[in-house]
Amino acid sequence: MLFHSLEFLLFFIFTFVLYIFLNHKWQNRLLLVASLIFYGFWDWRFLFLIFFSTSIDYFLGSKIYSAPNAKTKKSYLVTSIVMNLGVLGFFKYFNFFVDSFIDGANLLGLNFNPALPKIILPVGISFYTFQAMSYTIDIYRGQLKPKSFFDFALFVSFFPKLIAGPIERASHLLPQIINPRVLKLNEFYEGCHLFFWGLFEKLFIANSLVQIADSVFDQYESYDGLAILAGLYAFAFQIFADFDAYSNMARGIGKTMGFDLMINFNLPYFATNPVDFWRRWHISLSTWLRDYLYIPLGGNRLSKWKTYRNLMLTMILGGFWHGANWTFVFWGAYHGLLLVIYRAFTAIRKPLEDPNRWYFLRVIFFFHVVTLGWLLFRAESLLQAKGMLYKLIFDFHIHGQGELLLKTIFIILPLFIVQIMQYKTKDLLIIFHQHWLVKTLAYSFLTYLILGWGILKVEEFIYFQF
């Protein structure tokens, strides 16, 4: 069930109407049932998996809490991590490793062709596995006490964020589940606004850009440098709009029911350096990696080289999290390298006197650096990334195939204007906080863009595959 489908509309209206008439205890039960229906709608077999993950993690969480000594605690934690990563690894990376193994064996001259099982990737597995892991790790660290099983199950499967995040922390979302929630009319409106804005980002921006990006990436041989640049821009904004749309919709749905899910994107393309970028892009994943991978590895408290190693390792694994493909690994390595270079660079140069000097130039420069990373991310193979890069540089004519670039600019223009407003006022809900007349005109304009120009096909979000 996708957020922008008819089914979800009916599902949500039904759930919401029941929700407002129930007391807190029954609200939670309703949400759990609704979440399971929501997930089972994709494939009912996935429910077994989520039930398995949830119950094991819950069991291990309690065990860690009640364990008599540190050693037992640790062994339970290791079991939990191995189990979670094992499930994730099996469903997501099994084929990748086997394929890579076969490729390696074939390279060595061994003719090796075993029959492989066909494994389907359960949607959202990367997201809820990480959330369940944060629960056991937080208990191990003594930051959290075990809660009731149903509360924990709802935390893992809460339907707005189940499929593609934000990757919530137990310490942030669990209290909201356990304590009674207050429904406020203004929050409801705010939720509706977020959902609508997400709908716009998905149906108009992302769905229109996907056509440009796909055609450029799929047949890059037939385009020149200018068109490839358009394709790269299109993909950079497509992936942002697509993912931000989902996060906004999730937050919006949460808001209407009195939940506050975390902000996942804070104007990422306004970043001027890699550290800034990862504070703004997919915040819930980057902070997760920081807290549960980078810092346990030693963070930046050890020697210079160990810090660099930790950065690289964290980013490579972060890239690998996105999927079993070498391009993701290289994308992660690319960002790791950026962080390392930036760190080495800031260590030797003096800080700028005026931090806002040449701000927009720096933004534009860094946006292009990030976009180069998206080339690695989107390309089907490294060969394709190389070919496109070659075309981009050596087949670039300013009077080339400019139509795609114009189209791309036309599509991202509304998003661009709103983001500049959001940046200037430091208010992500800038449209919502306008005068009612302006707001009405804006909503109607966005509706016009969605219905008149958007692609209303119910297409999946990019991040579902991760």
Partner: protein
Amino acid sequence: MKKFLRIIIRILIFVISLEIYLNCGGLVLTLIRDYKNTRNATDGQIRIICIGDSTTYYNNENDYPNQLQTMLDQVNSGKKFRVINKGIPGAKSLDVVQHLEQWLDEGHADVAVIMIGRHDPRSDFIPLPWWYAWGTKMKTAGLLNKLFHSSQDYVLEKYNKFFESSAKFFADRGDVHELKIKADPEKNVIFPATSPEDTKLILQAKFLIEEKKFEQAQEILKYLDTKTYANKSFELKIEDMLGEVEYKKKVGWYVAAPYEEYMEYVRLSSAAIYDERSIWNRIHARWCNDEYIEDVEQQLLQLYAKAEDKNKEFIVDFLKTCFDKVGRQNKIIYYYDLVEKIYNKGINPVTQENYKKIIEILQKKNIKMIFMQYPTVDAEELEEILIPISENKSFILIDNKKIFKELLKNNSYKVYFSDDYGGHCTALGNKLIAQDLAKQILKIYN
């Protein structure tokens, strides 16, 4: 109360501004297109101006002027062609008359391709109530309508399994007859012949359902249901209609059949627009032979006397094609005339008059004329009108319907048309139009 008023005002502002945006959007698109048209205008080009309504306009790479341009570019004729799209959605022939000279001058046109007339008022035009006319003109309403239909399609497509199984569930409980219709693959028709008497009755039941007289329809169908028929699928059809009545009485809406069958209906009925106008005609054409025809005519004329206008048209059209099959010329002409009287389709005096003016202007400016008829309309009539008004038959007439009709014998309507009613073509449909046009243009210049 104040709050309520504020909500109303907001909704009003929302709708009005949406309407304004929609209109401005169209304007901007047309301006962009015109800009593109004037760009790259060089000497020595042969400039072809395509005039028409939304079927010409379309505004993407798949419209027929664009495809024509691509085709002409690919041909190595030693000449340079430039196609200019001047389609305006909803344009009437009068609009063309008013703007033609201006367009020709601006575009420096050498050839004019014209496909117009669909939006001209019919001579039996009855003014709609103002609010209704206003509503149909509103783009927002059109948008909502489109949205509604596409969501309907979405549900039908996605949940046909569910409808199927629920229908079965009801059928098992005996509440509603099973809805599934079995097609007869051997004969490739859904309904077999019975007798003219039954034809009349089942048609009558169909009309009664349309008029929401469910009790009476049910009575007829129950009577038909008591008989046994040589072919099982006719029985199933009756049961299906019984189910339909039952459903419509209870819930007000009805899904006729599982999706595949539903699409088969669409395919047959759409293709039949060409041959027999509707699936019913296709089915009942089985009675159109010397043995039954007199009887069928008699039965249907009885029905005709009592039918509503809409159904009258249907019956007469059916009889027309029926006699066409048997080949009784006098009867055919009689029913053709009758159809004209009821439906008044074809080219009306207004269009005729405007064509005259269009030809005058084109002849005065010495521009080569290519007229096209819509792929859903017969071209003969247009030809009859054009021959007397153009003095020396100095025009080319392209009969799109002939080409489409031939292809529709083997392919689904949806392959060539993007909608059921408007005659707007898909990319492939437009390609067919462009292909024929390209041939004609190359013939002129080679």
